[in-house]
Symmetry: C2
């Protein structure tokens, strides 16, 4: 009740102070901030406006720190030969030039953590955020308007940059409120792969037989845990591990009904291991690997009419398309989408529900 009152007040105050009519009207995807080249979307754009006066559908964030994407941070460190002062200067230079923290070499960004400072009047009664909320942005820094006043500290071990600065979230931008019941670092580790378990929840039905490739990795563990919840008593979850050690670790989690050891670069051996369990193919295969050339290892063990879900960013579109045709497999192949409705909530809830999963995340990924 109190919450609602506060929100109403903010809307009123905002309207009183600025007046909707005087505020600039923004577009859904933030194209109003693109400076160069015109007509582009913010992500591929070379330069966007980081003027911190918000449009009517934007959110202003007081930024605590940036989590630079790993590929980008590695490149920055190498270019600076490990000198963190040089990395600092380079980050500032990039943000001044581009209006966003998009590494010009890797093209990638990262995410940020901060507190909501202002909400555009067009948004304020549509969303559940309020001023002061601590959030993580789940869209890439490569499209987020950013202004850095000062870099306070860099923690190179976890690619984290503490800053004094502001950022803008577009109306289409996605974010998650950071929960009170876990450390920020734990929430972040989970949110980093939030799309995967949420998509599994949408995709997998009771009674399905599911194969998780790369089940011992970060997204693989989450997908296995979620798949086990979804298949119920009638379905079976098979987790793939690459060696005896990892298979043992996976067995201990009890996320999978069966664990197989198979070389994912050998599609026939993956198929054979699955067939040893079922005598047939599975309904759904979920690829959580991070290595290339595993398209056929995902396609072969899946039955005709089944689904292959590729979360691996190392997936090749043409290898998947031609691979399925080459073996005459009538499977639906889906490109992993990092976003689906309520994905952050679904993922954080999974950590809350499974003590085993939470413990693994706290030990391995925080």
């Amino acid at each position: 009740m109190e919450k609602i009152l506060i929100k109403v007040n903010i809307v009123k105050i905002t309207s009183m102070c600025f007046g909707d009519k005087n505020m600039k009207k923004g577009t859904l995807y933030g194209t109003h901030r693109v400076i160069e080249p015109k007509g582009s979307l913010p992500q591929p754009a070379l330069k966007i406006s980081n003027d911190m006066e918000i449009y009517d559908n934007e959110i202003l964030i007081d930024v605590d720190y940036l989590n630079i994407d790993s590929a980008s941070f590695t490149q920055l460190k190498e270019e600076a030969h490990g000198d963190m002062e040089k990395v600092k200067n380079n980050i500032i230079k990039i943000v001044v030039q581009r209006g966003k923290m998009q590494n010009p070499v890797t093209g990638s960004g990262g995410m940020l953590i901060g507190r909501v400072q202002e909400i555009g009047p067009k948004l304020s009664d549509k969303i559940e955020l309020k001023v002061g909320d601590k959030i993580a942005t789940l869209v890439s820094l490569s499209l987020t308007p950013l202004k850095i006043k000062k870099i306070k500290k860099i923690n190179p071990d976890i690619d984290r940059v503490e800053i004094d600065g502001k950022a803008i979230l577009f109306e289409s931008g996605i974010y998650a409120k950071l929960p009170e019941d876990m450390e920020d670092t734990l929430a972040l580790a989970a949110l980093d792969v939030a799309g995967a378990p949420a998509q599994v929840k949408k995709l997998v039905k009771s009674g399905d037989n599911v194969l998780i490739l790369g089940a011992t990795g970060k997204s693989g563990l989450m997908c296995s845990c979620m798949a086990k919840q979804m298949v119920g008593m009638e379905g079976i979850v098979i987790g793939q591990a690459r060696n005896e050690n990892r298979a043992q670790f996976l067995s201990n989690t009890k996320f999978c009904d069966k664990v197989i050891i198979a070389d994912v670069l050998n599609p026939v051996s993956v198929l054979e291991e699955v067939q040893k369990i079922f005598g047939e193919e599975v309904d759904i295969t979920i690829n959580c690997l991070s290595i290339p050339n595993t398209e056929l290892s995902s396609i072969l063990p899946t039955r005709n009419g089944g689904i292959v879900y590729f979360f691996s960013m190392a997936t090749s579109f043409t290898k998947a398309a031609l691979g399925a045709e080459g073996v005459g497999k009538d499977v639906t192949m889906i490109i992993g989408n990092g976003y689906t409705k309520n994905h952050a909530q679904i993922t954080l809830d999974l950590l809350r529900e499974s003590k085993v999963l939470r413990k693994i995340f706290e030990e391995k990924y925080v």
Copy 2:
């Protein structure tokens, strides 16, 4: 009735002549023929056996001609500086070395036309083929065991190589019987993109609003024609063309309810053109373009919860995955599969049903 009798007889004769027990047993995907490297599937393999004694689940084909894939043929011509005798020698050399016509530079193959000469006993009562049927193989030559006795003629204008030779089709191999009621060349032109309209038939439901990007191309025309049949009176098909001329041509076909002219490299303009018609996004977008960087132009005009189907082989997996996340779009993105059940039949039937489509194909693609 007669057909069935004939088939039964063949099975009996085959069994009598060879006896199932003496025949070598093959695997579904033809891995029994892989010579190097062991454990590989036939397509990525460097060398497969082209011994023309069939295994129990193979089909022997008396080959009339090869349709070399366009990328491969261009490479062969360039390497031979246009000398067709040199191209002939090179093709023979490749097939001797690899046991299949897989261009070592492009990695691609093509398809073949021939007549069924022998059917393995394990297959003969499972399939509708009989000895003497004229078929086109719909799996790539890059995985098809082939032996060339003689190259009779090369027609460089249509990448066609007439040969005296034999080939093997695996149990998982897909093929189409060539129909009596149309020229082989017309059937081939359609079968080349057979997956696209068949997938549209599976995907599109009555009442759907569908956007076809690249609607004036070969697969785009087929997809538009099929989508119009599927959406019924309640749904709308929007076809995209890149200029006034092509838009006029597309309008004349009546395959689409609305035609838009939009630059597919500008996602926002595609979205705006679609919104001019609906005020909102479509349920399904089908990408039939053959140019890169059109992922976001497919994602933006599609509603949350909708489907994007990528037939374009120029699609980038990462651009699609990160693109959807970047704009916070909850769409299901599907990798176009060149194969689905009955795809050849569905595609040839579409040519039979639409006189307009057949006329365009005869004029443009034969």
